[in-house]
């Protein structure tokens, strides 16, 4: 029998959320649509449609993923509270250490500082994303793509395993997209186009990662389980 601690149980529940690839797929599709809306900046109606789609994905992200999971994941492998519920909506769930009279102070301090660390991580990653976006849009030099690629790859690496789960192929391929766009820059580059090409390619990569994870999940769990009475 495996050792069961709440930390391990929470970690497995967190991994379970990403196992089927649906959060990655939806997030990647959002990036893809967002990028396209910059590329098609001369077709207002199509751009409006893309922007509306992106807004729906951004605002209803959780509902979309839950809707898909209710049809694909829960009937196959069951339901457990999604990780964001404990992170964003409810007070953090206590762990065994914090309920013990003999709690290790170092462990308790570690637990208390986790949310603070997450905030700091988010601020750092947002700054890195902003630098990549502004740099790509406003510095008209092909090698800006390469720098932005490395910057985005680093931002994803910082968040990976803590805020979402992406394969290492995606994280290492983002800088490669930057280098590809630097070496073979697309024609007719406006600031919006530069950002658009980058985000679209990155989104497509993340969608591919999600699709691969989904196929693997469905391969491992082909049949629907009969719900318990």
């Amino acid at each position: 029998m495996h050792r069961k601690s709440p930390t391990a149980a929470q970690r497995r529940a967190w991994n379970y959320w990403f196992d089927d690839g649906l959060p990655t797929l939806v997030g990647g599709f959002g990036c893809f649509v967002f990028g396209l809306s910059f590329i098609f900046d001369r077709q207002p109606l199509f751009r409006l449609l893309l922007a509306a789609t992106y807004c729906v994905i951004l605002l209803r992200n959780r509902s979309i993923i839950e809707w898909l999971k209710a049809r694909l994941t829960y009937p196959r492998t069951g339901y457990v509270t999604p990780p964001y519920s404990s992170q964003d909506e409810l007070p953090p769930l206590p762990d065994l250490t914090s309920v013990s009279l003999q709690a290790d102070p170092a462990q308790m301090a570690k637990t208390a500082s986790e949310q603070h660390e997450r905030k700091q991580r988010m601020i750092l990653v947002l700054a890195m994303l902003l630098a990549a976006v502004l740099g790509t849009m406003f510095i008209d030099h092909p090698w800006t793509f390469a720098a932005a690629g490395i910057d985005l790859g680093l931002a994803l690496w910082i968040m990976n395993g803590k805020d979402f789960r992406l394969s290492w192929i995606v994280i290492s391929a983002i800088p490669l997209i930057g280098f590809s766009l630097a070496i073979f820059p697309p024609d007719a580059m406006t600031p919006a186009h530069r950002l658009g090409y980058f985000v679209t390619a990155g989104g497509l990569l993340i969608v591919t990662d999600g699709v691969v994870a989904l196929i693997r999940y469905l391969w491992r769990n082909p049949g629907l389980s009969v719900p318990a009475e």
Binding site: P6, Q10, R71, Y74, T81, L90, V99, A228
Partner: protein
């Protein structure tokens, strides 16, 4: 017998059973989970898990709710306040017992 070890006699026997301890530990950590998730997590048979959940429900440690996610019916399980308190108390007692045990030097 030392006072720490005497606490063993006062352990909650409903929680102390290994399968129920796994259920309580997981529900304490994750909030709520459905029957299928718990079954897969612990490798228990449907009948075995049902009987343990029934026992925990009987003592009002676990709340079992039949609901739907989309069209799929879920049997959701979560700890009640009484269940959370009982589990916390169980952990405290076990901590005392662990402190009374000789340390593993390996």
């Amino acid at each position: 017998m030392t006072p720490d070890l005497q606490k063993l006699a006062g352990l909650d026997r409903v929680i102390h059973e290994p399968a129920r301890l796994m259920i309580m530990t997981t529900l304490f950590a994750v909030g709520e989970a459905d029957f299928l998730y718990l079954q897969r997590e612990f490798g228990l048979t449907q009948g075995n898990l049902s009987s343990h959940l029934a026992k925990l429900e009987e003592t009002k440690y676990v709340l079992i709710e039949k609901t739907f996610k989309g069209k799929y019916p879920l049997t959701l399980c979560r700890l009640t306040k009484k269940g959370r308190k009982a589990f916390e108390e169980y952990v405290r007692k076990m901590r005392f017992v662990a402190n009374a045990a000789p340390a593993d030097n390996h």
